[in-house]
Subunit: 396 residues, 2 copies
């Protein structure tokens, strides 16, 4: 029998996808350069040449039978070792290869982490604004996603809501910092307070509440600052990492899951990932990609373009009367719309070939997201268009 | 809470894995060349140079942002088109790109297919001998794997058992031809009879029983013969393909799922795969691998080594008094052990540094598997060892 659960999902089309299709259609009419498509979070900076060179060198010099051979279920040992070394050196946590599980980017890391620490009927709490894919990521495991309302002051955490919503059934809390869509970076104070809350609630309910930290934007932080490393603040943390953004490799599906060595049953969780993998058809990321990634662990592309774009957009939005929190990282900005209905606001912007995404699906109605991973030249050309849209539509 | 379901699986270690670990330990003592490891089905023929050249050329000439960019949820359109074209030309079925879903090899194809056509509590029937990973592949979806006993005469299908075991709850039948572990190739007669049975049973129970065809060995058929293409015999067939064996790329995790266009809700099933993917963290295989694979669809490595090895082993086994069906394809042979307890038989063989896998986990006690994907020189050297083992242990 066709599985109704998945068939029904076909009806509900992603808002982002629909918008980017509209943008593509419009681009055919007015030209790609004249559509300001702020909808998709697709990195625009090419991968570092060193990564490409490593791939070519592996293909040229390695025995192909070994190079393209099966990766062990838990990942290629030398790759796991190098990831652990890099994390240990950077963040001072004594990771070993036994705490690392290479994955097909962050989505697969989350798929494994969620299955490892939840059972059917458990709840997973996340904080708005949040990445809408968390719905299928969590709900299709058999657990249930709950969303705490946003702290729109600075896009940290609404503590009153968090307090109330972490209950008996909460198996894990899922965070994403630097955050898509807000661009906020959880501060050290936020992470300490969250850790204290999770410790208290874990004691109260007599079971560990795991922290699943989705961190594909970990390195994209501006103003010479850094994201405080989440796993340092709470031992029962599973970090889910991806090179999609840091190396501009979203299509290669390469990342890893790192369990804090001090976490409850840390090694068991990694071993369980090997079993989970059998059920979900994962069986490790590409062996070639694992090997190339292991040589590029401490590289990133040059994020200065994203920072320049952030500065330009933030200044323009402020000038045009928007309420907006200055993003500390990522390549997103998340201003308040100029009318209550953000969908209506974004619809009107489309008339100016500005493609903006309403915040509703991110759990934050009344706001909208702009993904500014594009050439600065295009951002610059979009600014007078944005101004024109605001003046003509809202008389500002 | 740690998910007990997966934690419990940690106790049960794969027989094949345990054996290959023993072989590796023994190789450290007597040297790799002196251990005749017939346990692992890891291709031993290097990938065709054309594939490596395509990868290097893509890396050298393509815009890296596009090359490594997100693949659409349903796969890269040009890749899907080329797969459909190739299948149409080879097998005469009018596939279009809308019937193709690129996957991380056959394991992921099966993970998607199984979720698309079963719901919790459904049964999936397979025929012994079968690939033991079908247990987690099926059972972790919420459906239940049932195994029909083997037809040990020729490793086709035990029809009486099949008749009885397809019931109200059977949502799908899962076959693997050419077969791991037997090396058997289902004949046209077998496929026609199976189709007739599934049509009859579908009518009887008032719902479509899907045929899921796991075909990573599709091209590895000897004696200038071919595997009759399964989807031609039964419309409601989902073919699950992998390039792991045909191109010797097991670590790259690249393959696809192809739904027969005449299948019930064919396009819906492919679209559902995009949704299933969100839940299991799949999100397409590597974009680089998709693009390279699309240029290599009609290539295979040279399988003559496997055929030569099959001939040598089959002759030697017959000479030494084994009951054995001559494999028509793959790189496996599946003889009857010389005592009832195949595990005991394989344990004794280990004393001669012959690593054989008992048939119990393949649903066929009393038999054992040899994976002969290795250098012919080594197979040749193993033959007198096999003879010595048989003479000394069983007095033959």
């Amino acid at each position: 029998m066709i599985a109704g659960q998945y068939k029904e999902m076909l009806g509900t089309k992603s808002v982002i996808r629909t918008l980017s299709e509209k943008a593509a259609a419009r681009a055919k009419v007015v030209g790609y350069g004249n559509v300001y498509d702020y909808s998709l979070g697709n990195p625009s900076i090419p991968v570092v040449q060193g990564f490409t060179d490593t791939l070519i060198s592996l293909l040229r010099t390695q025995d192909p039978v070994e190079l393209h051979g099966y990766s062990p279920t838990l990942g290629i040992p030398s790759v796991k070792e190098k990831i652990a070394d890099s994390l240990r050196a950077r963040f001072g946590i004594p990771y070993g290869p036994e705490h690392i599980f290479p994955t097909s980017a962050a989505a697969a890391a989350l798929a494994h982490a969620l299955r490892a620490v939840t059972v059917f009927g458990d709840e997973v709490l996340t904080f708005a604004p949040f990445f809408p894919e968390y719905h299928p990521y969590v709900n299709l495991t058999g657990a249930r996603l709950r969303v705490a309302p946003p702290d729109t002051q600075n896009f940290q955490i609404d503590w009153e809501a968090a307090q109330k919503m972490i209950g008996e059934k909460t198996a894990a809390v899922l965070i994403n910092t630097p955050n898509n869509p807000s661009g906020a970076v959880y501060s050290e104070a936020t992470l300490k307070k969250l850790a204290a809350l999770l410790e208290k609630k874990s004691r109260e309910y007599g079971h560990t509440i795991y922290l699943i930290s989705d961190e594909p934007y970990r390195e994209i932080v501006f103003d010479h600052k850094q994201q405080p490393y989440v796993s340092r603040y709470y031992v029962d943390t599973i970090a889910c990492y991806s090179f999609s953004k840091s190396l501009s490799l979203p299509g290669e599906r390469i990342g890893y899951l790192a369990v804090n060595p001090a976490c409850q049953e840390a090694e068991t969780i990694v071993n369980m990932c090997g079993q989970i993998s059998r059920g979900i058809g994962h069986n490790c990321p590409s062996s070639l990609m694992q090997l190339a990634m292991a040589e590029s662990l401490d590289m990133t592309v040059d994020f200065s373009v994203y920072e320049k774009n952030r500065n330009l957009l933030y200044a323009c939005l402020k000038e045009n009367g928007f309420e907006v929190v200055k993003p500390a990282g990522t390549f997103y900005i998340f201003p308040k719309a100029l009318e209550e209905d953000a969908a209506a606001f974004c619809e009107k912007a489309l008339n100016y070939d500005l493609v903006l995404v309403p915040g509703d699906s991110f759990g934050c109605p009344g706001y909208f997201r702009m993904a500014y991973c594009m050439d600065t030249e295009k951002v610059e050309r979009s600014l007078p268009v944005l101004q024109k849209f605001v003046r003509e539509t809202y008389g500002k």
